[in-house]
């Protein structure tokens, strides 16, 4: 299979199929379900091909595609893949079929709209991971906004409209400033070289003046504009307030994608753009971001502990986990950055699994309140086992994936920032406390509520959705080297070490 | 003895101000039309005076155009007022308040 159009195939397959599905009649629900699943599986296959063909020792972009699009401004349709994007593309492509399988039964209203929105969303995400043109990146970045708005707003819970609008306005406010920054960056490149370009590789060669202070320093301002857009997406404390709303109101599939993939775009952006484009500003902002990361870790854990709604609890645990990732990125060593990248994948797997499993009981009981459950271990043994695996992965039990990521982050950061690591480590402990307390209350408290006695266990379809996640949790936990080696060269290049 | 240009300009400015005040302050549709005419004619006067000062005919010709346009404008304005009067039995612009300002 030639790789000339491999990346285009990865990016465009879901979107094109989605647009074609738009033309199918509303009643053809079976067709829409199957075609969307097949499209996402096909995308996964393309991603796997990329995995088998990529040369991990080569730090630069591979399978490069470049076509002119808006020649007057030097904007092109440029795609490229390195180890970092490969890992995240694999995660996205893996989660998408799981989303479709998990929502096979739970979404029964307006199925066409749902699968189309999901497929367009996948194109947006994959495009953002693979774009090597700043402008194209921005287009894909914005492209995600509208499908996600609909996914939350149409298929969400009770306060879905509020959550959808809040999600859009938060995201947009940040990303539009990033657009200005992108244009300005290109302008800097233009004034230094005399040619217009939005290509990422060209931007790396533009040296943005550092200047004095904050308001008179172009580099600080550009850094801030990029970082704001990404920090909202991650989300970094105190910009996280949209996240619990969006997660809780979104349908299960939306939460999986949101937590599993969309949040990663924020940290991906910090690593891909902020780090190499604005190195001095990055240095200067490091204390601030480390502080915010640690606050996020502890705050997210404490708030999660206090939640009565399982989905909200998992949502707040995301704030903690993303805090670890930000910590790893800004600690800046190769080990911590690699750990952060791995933790992005881990969080996608474990939180995706948790949302999936919370969705399972929600479908059966139409409640997510912890107090409405108890003693499920006796009724749903398979489900209990699955939930336990996801929980242990999330809290970082050795042998599962979460441990490797957190360990790398903390060991990588320790030599430079021991105090930060010390505080962050309490987050690990707190994480174990609230997650295990959740497990105890849901699965081992007495089976007091009558409605819970007859709950059916996982269906084969739910097992099918969960199994790949568990498989990768164990794989990464046992042999993380498979994935770490993929990204090492690329990470080295970005952090300049 | 000729009247200096500054007299014309000042006069035109005063006329313009009176016209603008009429448009903004008066309530009757007819008075507003008069105010608009005053503003246009203030401009005409200034144009004619400046044209004479520069010794050109450009402005004088322009003034003819403006007069024609002003006549058309009044025709449209009066027609509108008649239509409004038929509907509302009044040409008080304060009563045009179906939509909030």
């Amino acid at each position: 299979m030639p790789t000339d159009f491999l990346l285009s195939a990865i990016v465009l397959t879901p979107g094109v199929v989605g647009l074609l599905l738009l033309a199918t009649p509303r009643e053809a629900v079976r067709l829409q379900r199957w075609v969307s699943l097949l499209a996402s599986v096909a995308t996964l296959v393309f991603a796997a091909v990329a995995w088998s063909r990529i040369d991990p020792a080569n730090a630069s972009f591979q399978f490069v595609e470049a076509r002119t699009w808006l020649p007057s401004l030097g904007i092109g349709y440029r795609l490229g893949m390195d180890g970092i994007s490969l890992v995240l593309v694999l995660l996205t492509a893996l989660l998408q079929p799981i989303v479709f399988i998990s929502s096979w039964r739970s979404i029964h209203d307006k199925v066409k709209g749902y699968v189309v929105a999901m497929l367009l969303l996948e194109t947006g995400v994959l495009g953002a991971f693979l774009a090597t043109d700043m402008f194209l990146f921005y287009v894909f970045w914005e492209l995600m906004l509208v499908p996600m708005y609909f996914i939350i707003g149409v298929w969400g819970g009770e306060r879905r409209i509020y959550a959808a609008v809040k999600f859009v306005l938060f995201t947009l406010a940040g990303s539009l400033l990033m657009l200005v920054a992108i244009i300005y960056l290109s302008f800097v490149f233009h004034s230094q070289t005399g040619t217009w370009s939005f290509a990422y590789e060209d931007m790396l060669r533009a040296s943005v003046p550092m200047g004095q202070g904050f308001w008179h320093s172009p580099q600080m301002l550009l850094f801030a504009a990029f970082a704001l857009a990404f920090a909202i997406k991650v989300p970094i404390f105190p910009l996280h307030t949209w996240l619990p709303d969006a997660h809780t109101e979104a349908p299960t599939g939306g939460s999986i994608i949101l937590a599993g993939v969309l949040l990663k775009l924020g940290t991906y952006g910090l690593l891909r753009f902020n780090r190499p484009l604005f190195p001095e500003a990055w240095q200067r902002a490091t204390p601030l971001f480390l502080t915010l990361a640690v606050i996020g870790i502890v705050y997210g854990a404490l708030v999660a502990w206090a939640q009565k709604d399982m989905k909200k609890l998992v949502a707040y645990s995301s704030v903690t986990h993303m805090g670890f990732i930000v910590l790893g990125l800004f600690a800046g060593t190769l080990t911590s950055t690699q750990g952060a990248l791995l933790q992005m994948v881990n969080h996608g797997l474990s939180t995706g699994a948790l949302f999936l499993l919370v969705g399972v009981v929600y479908d059966r009981r139409h409640t997510r309140m912890i107090e409405d459950f108890g003693g499920l271990a006796a009724v749903m043994p398979l489900y209990t086992g699955a939930f336990l695996i996801a929980t242990l992965s999330s809290i970082g039990l050795p042998g599962l994936n979460g441990f490797v990521g957190e360990f790398l982050i903390l060991t990588g950061a320790f030599p430079r920032h021991p105090a930060v690591v010390a505080v962050a480590a309490t987050g690990v402990v707190l994480g174990a406390v609230y997650m295990l307390s959740l497990v105890r209350r849901v699965f081992w408290n007495p089976l007091a509520i009558e409605a819970n006695r007859s709950l059916p266990d996982l269906t084969w379809r739910e097992v099918l959705a969960f199994a790949p996640l568990a498989f990768f949790m164990v794989w990464i936990g046992v042999h993380p080297g498979t994935f770490l080696s993929l990204s090492e060269a690329a990470v080295r290049r970005l952090i300049g070490g | 003895m000729t009247v200096p240009i500054s007299h014309f300009v000042t006069f035109a400015a005063v006329l313009f101000a009176i016209g603008a005040a009429g448009v903004l302050l008066r309530r009757s549709g007819i008075s507003i039309l008069l105010g608009i005419e005053l503003m246009l004619n203030a401009a005409n006067l200034a144009l004619v005076a400046f044209g004479r000062q520069h010794g050109q005919l450009d402005a004088q010709v322009f003034v003819f155009f403006v007069m024609a346009v002003a006549a058309a404008e009044v025709a449209v304005g009066l027609a509108l007022l008649v239509a409004i009067f038929r509907k509302q039995r009044s040409i008080d612009v304060d009563r045009l308040n179906v939509m909030r300002w």
Partner: protein
């Protein structure tokens, strides 16, 4: 003389055909909607062909009628845009006039006369010509705004538009006379030469300020925007669509021609004025739109805001700035006409069907039309991959390039705000249903639907492949006089 007439032929032709439509309308009465509408569209198309031929037969750099009239690329671009706008509006009006039982003859003729005025404005390089074109456009539009003579709102809209419009014309004319007094010329190129050679006195500066006020009124910029919401709400909806794009684009053509062409030497003294007006326009237009429940009023404030974005391009100046304004006008025209087309579809019961709540649950009953409206709202909000996004990109790129980063920051923040109210409509159409919402029934209006389809396709095509359209705009932009 022959060359003069060839250059003027499109205007002559359209004016003649407009009179023919007027007479035919008088002769045929109400019954012949289809015939007259088809005649008007054909007339506009024929004018388009004539424009093409005339452009081929004349030298784009040449001046006609003793240097008062040009047919450069800039003028051709705008004339083509005006003809397109007028044709779309005529098509939109067809079903609407029929449904509301108004005579088509005068209406169509007035749209065509207004178009002649706009075309003259785009070609004038002499302040007198520009003024006459402006008044022809304005007078026709006043009457059109009040065309629904059985509706109080329509009268009110026309009266308000007339009073404030005539007053702004007076201010503009007075500004012209002061500039003439200071420089002794009405010709834009001479004006620029004179202003560049001598330091202008206070009267010229007052003249420029008055002129700017008049122009800002015509493009509906803050603080001269107060007429817009009422006029847009009260006027017949196709005319609202027309006013929001045609006269606005014509005003921008004149604004660019006069300020970037003739008054360029005084840029230092007007650019801050226009810049501040642009910022205020974007802020106030978007903020005021947030609270509107009437969709036509909301689109009125949105059109105010969009004038603000376009002013950013004017402030940026230079070929890139002018180019971006031209492109933006094209983008805005197709988007806004499409959006108003949707409002027309919904106006099934006279003036009803205009509040945001009327849009509830429309997506289920009318998926195709709702999808079109979704595209238009996203385009107005500037979300890729729609035309509106590309339009904004070029405006912002030009402004950043010219060093007006603060203006761009205001613009993008306000774009974020604007998405809130554009999404309100989307939200009503797609998200609200089931909870007791009874979706309004769209009226059967085949031509309106076709216009919506055409605009929707244009929004996507320009959004995905803007390069050829930009190239067209760029070829035109070089011609604004002193660039």
């Amino acid at each position: 003389m022959r060359a003069d007439l060839i250059a003027l032929l499109p205007e002559l032709m359209l004016a003649t055909l407009a009179m023919a439509v007027l007479l035919a309308g008088l002769a045929s009465g109400k019954a012949r909607h289809g015939l007259l509408g088809a005649g008007a569209v054909l007339a506009l198309a024929a004018t388009g062909v004539t424009l093409w031929l005339a452009a081929g037969a004349t030298d784009p750099g040449a001046h006609f009628f003793s240097g008062m009239f040009v047919l450069d690329h800039f003028a051709i671009f705008f004339k083509a845009l005006f003809l397109l706008t007028a044709a779309l509006v005529v098509l939109l009006s067809h079903d609407y006039l029929k449904r509301n039982d108004y005579r088509p003859g005068e209406y169509l003729a007035l749209v065509m006369f207004a178009t002649v005025g706009m075309m003259t404005m785009a070609s004038g390089v002499n302040l007198a010509v520009i003024y006459v074109g402006l008044e022809l456009m304005a007078l026709s539009t006043y009457i059109l705004a009040g065309y629904f003579r059985r509706e109080v709102k329509s009268h009110e809209a026309a009266a308000k538009y007339f009073v404030l419009g005539a007053m702004s014309s007076g201010i503009l004319l007075y500004g012209l006379s002061l500039i003439y007094g200071a420089t002794g010329t009405l010709d834009l190129a001479t004006l620029a030469r004179v202003l560049a050679s001598a330091k202008p006195g206070p009267s010229a500066l007052v003249g420029v300020a008055l002129l700017a006020c008049g122009f800002l009124f015509k493009v509906a910029a803050v603080p001269f925007h107060v007429w817009t919401p009422d006029v847009y709400e009260g006027a017949p909806t196709p005319i609202t669509a027309f006013m929001s794009v045609g006269p606005k684009a014509a005003a921008f053509a004149m604004f660019l021609r006069v300020f970037i062409g003739g008054l360029a030497p005084l840029a230092a003294s007007w650019i801050w004025l226009v810049g501040v007006a642009a910022a205020l326009t974007m802020i106030w237009g978007n903020v005021a739109a947030l609270t509107q429940d009437n969709v036509k009023r909301m689109l009125a404030y949105s059109s105010i805001a969009h004038a603000g974005y376009a002013l950013v391009g004017l402030v940026a100046g230079g070929p890139a700035g002018v180019n971006s304004v031209l492109f933006y006008m094209l983008v805005y025209t197709v988007t806004n006409i499409g959006a108003f087309g949707f409002v027309i579809l919904l106006e099934s019961r006279g003036y009803a069907g205009e509040t945001v709540a009327d849009y509830a649950g429309l997506a289920r009953r009318h998926p195709a039309a709702a999808f079109g409206m979704l595209l238009f709202m996203l385009s107005l909000g500037g979300i890729p991959p729609t035309a509106g996004f590309m339009g904004k990109l070029y405006l912002f790129a030009a402004a950043v390039n010219a060093g007006y980063v603060w203006l761009v920051v205001v613009a993008v923040l306000m774009s974020a705000v604007s998405l809130y109210y554009y999404l309100r409509i989307v939200l009503q159409m797609y998200l609200r249903e089931g909870d007791g919402a009874e979706p309004a029934t769209l009226v059967a209006a085949p031509w309106t639907e076709r216009v919506i389809w055409a605009c929707g396709v244009a929004v996507l095509v320009i959004g995905l492949l803007p390069a050829p359209f930009l190239a067209a705009a760029r070829a035109m932009a070089g011609a604004v006089g002193l660039l």
